[in-house]
């Protein structure tokens, strides 16, 4: 690869060199730079995506050859299996509640930080730090904090005279507890939104103040329109985060159930009462515990379609942003 490039440029652009030759050289340069990525994309994204669609129409257990089922897996997914519907419900819950809370919370924290005059660096650092904690470690930390008997959260609530709940052991509270965990780790969104807030031109606020606009009107008419693209990015980012929600659900369920060996048995997945059984978690159990690869592939196709819709939204958004940048 290198040799080709060097030889190509060693030949100085002679005045009579044809356009075709130059174009060919340019093509070889691009190919040289891009070839590992092209191979990687084809092997690790292109091929598996197509293969997933094929597998989704089959019954496949890794050992015997795939057996054609037609739409069998898809029909089974929507008719004869209650757990996959539970998984869909849990993921939809996370997409709606977790996304809303995460974006609003990150925006709120970013707005507070943007108004600070001193200690910005310290506050920003401390708010961002938790998002770097490995998800497994963060989840175990929260399983400890939310421990019904001796966890600091319930201890604090008891101090206030409130009867703390069972959190990760209560089917109604497991998902809200996971949401709080996600808020704790939303530092990345905060930084993005903070940068956007600091980019809003101050003159506009001053002009609005002269016109007698209050804080609410200033937010609606100046802040919101300016940060809209970044806000959009945050929403899509959070939706995709919620659609992929896996590690925290698996670890929280297994730690709370008390018996867990995460990589071992599937018994305590979704604990308590399947309330933490998200769509990717059930996909994992079907594919990698029960070896129903065809069925898992059908679930993957559904996940792909939903993710694709949101990705398309994001790409459109980014295209619009880059037009502004270039224009």
């Amino acid at each position: 690869m290198t040799a080709t490039l060097e030889r190509a440029s060693a030949a100085r652009p002679a005045p009579n060199q044809g356009r075709a030759a130059r174009r060919r050289r340019n093509f070889l340069t691009v190919l040289g730079f891009m070839s590992p990525a092209i191979i990687g994309f084809a092997v690790f994204f292109g091929y598996p995506l197509i293969a997933t669609i094929y597998f989704s129409f089959t019954s496949y257990d890794l050992i015997n050859a795939p057996e054609w089922l037609g739409f069998g897996n898809y029909i089974r997914m929507f008719t004869s299996e209650p757990l996959v519907l539970t998984a869909m419900y849990n993921t939809a819950w996370l997409v709606v509640v977790l996304t809303t809370c995460r974006v609003l919370f990150a925006l709120g924290v970013a707005m507070v930080i943007s108004r600070l005059k001193s200690g910005v660096g310290l506050v920003r650092t401390l708010c961002y730090l938790p998002s770097l904690a490995p998800p497994v470690a963060a989840t175990i930390t929260f399983a400890f904090l939310f421990n019904p008997e001796f966890g600091p959260v319930n201890k604090f609530l008891r101090f206030l005279g409130i009867d703390g709940g069972l959190w990760f052991s209560d089917p109604d509270m497991a998902k809200p507890a996971l949401t709080i965990l996600a808020l704790w780790g939303s530092g990345e969104l905060m930084i993005i939104l903070l940068a956007a807030l600091l980019d809003v031109p101050q003159e506009q606020y001053e002009a609005a103040e002269i016109d007698g606009a209050g804080p609410v009107r200033k937010f609606l008419h100046i802040t919101l329109p300016t940060i809209a693209p970044v806000l959009m990015f945050s929403i899509v980012n959070s939706v995709i985060f919620a659609l992929q929600f896996f590690t925290q659900a698996v670890v929280a369920g297994s730690v709370a159930s008390g018996s867990a060996e995460v990589a071992g048995n599937a018994k305590d997945i979704g604990f308590p009462q399947n309330s933490t059984l998200t769509f990717p978690v059930w996909l994992y159990v079907q594919g990698f515990r029960y070896f129903n690869m065809g069925y898992a592939a059908a679930m993957a196709v559904l996940l792909f379609i939903v993710s694709f819709i949101f990705t398309a939204l994001l790409v459109r958004q980014m295209r619009r942003a880059s037009h502004v940048e270039e224009g």
């Binding site: 994309f41 994204f45 998800p135 400890f144 693209p229 990589a263 993957a300 993710s307």
Partner: protein, 298 residues
């Protein structure tokens, strides 16, 4: 009071002279106190969980089971006791293998690709960039089944190779982030290098890469952290083979083996968090730059 609200310079000093009334300054002070106490409360709320991890980690066995928050006596030896309970050293080596090799591979493969997407002019470049973005957003679970099938046939499940090898060819997020950074380097520098006799390859090597060092550092840090934190990949590929577990998997299973030893559990948790925290404190600027780049500069 009404005039005070209307002319109050809120949080910004107005350019024109603001009519000051006697209330103006204490209201400003009040506003300052209010925002700063909320800020402080947030900072505290975010750091408390990590503080509790460290405090519980050094408690005695019996105290960790009581509901106390502050250690009566400090048992720093807990951090060493974890090593007796599980082969933590082996797990750390596995984690480092995965993270360091993946990051090195990413740098080799992603820098040229990002350069071609940011700086070279060619037909279909925008389409390819959209494919990169799409690959970045694709949930790992979507492609997991055929990839697993592939690695089973290659006889490499149970090892770390299925996790590492892809980075030597393509990592969508890194290509995306590096492209964003490269776009900010003025083309003039590269053109100047070419006039001075550099070809495309040496111009990248001698000019673009040194100038993009902060961006490359940020991308490397993100790649390292992502792989250090990864759970789904190792669970699928090395789940069956304990010898090749990285820290994330071992920590998730620690509780199962040592049901009630919360102090040791927290000691292990703390030790896995530390590299991420230390990395961040050393390279805060790179991190923040990288983060804002992913969201703001579309």
């Amino acid at each position: 009071m009404t005039t005070a609200t209307a002319t109050r310079p809120a949080h910004r000093r107005g350019r024109r002279p603001v009519k000051r009334n006697p209330n103006g300054s204490w209201q400003k002070t009040l506003y300052w106190v209010a925002t700063h106490s909320i800020g402080l409360a947030l900072a505290l709320a975010f750091s408390l969980p990590i503080l509790f991890v460290f405090l519980t980690a050094v408690m005695s066995d019996s105290q960790a089971l009581s509901s106390s928050l502050w250690p009566e006596s400090w048992h720093f030896e807990n951090f060493f006791r974890v090593f007796d309970k599980v082969p933590l050293l082996q797990y750390t080596v596995n984690s480092l293998m995965y993270s360091l090799l993946a990051t090195a591979g990413m740098l080799i493969s992603a820098i040229p690709a990002a350069y071609a997407l940011a700086r070279l002019k060619w037909k279909g470049r925008n389409t390819v960039f959209l494919l990169v973005v799409a690959a970045m957003m694709l949930p790992p679970q979507v492609v997991a089944v055929p990839l697993y099938d592939m690695w089973v046939k290659a006889g490499l499940t149970g090892t770390l190779w299925p996790l590492i090898v892809p980075y030597f060819l393509f990592d969508a997020f890194s290509v995306f982030l590096l492209r964003q950074f490269f776009l900010t380097i003025p083309q003039d520098y590269i053109d100047a290098a070419k006039i001075d006799g550099c070809n495309e390859f040496t111009a990248v090597w001698r000019v673009l890469i040194p100038m993009s060092r902060p961006g490359i550092a940020a991308t490397g840090l993100f790649c390292f952290l992502y792989t250090w934190n990864d759970f789904f990949g190792p669970l699928i590929y090395t789940g069956e083979n304990k010898d090749n577990w990285p820290l994330s998997l071992s920590l998730a299973s620690f509780r199962g083996q040592h049901a009630v030893e919360w102090n040791l559990m927290m000691a292990a948790t703390a030790m896995i968090m530390v590299p991420a925290i230390v990395l961040f404190l050393f390279a805060q600027k790179s991190f923040v730059r990288g983060i804002t780049f992913t969201g703001v500069k579309g």
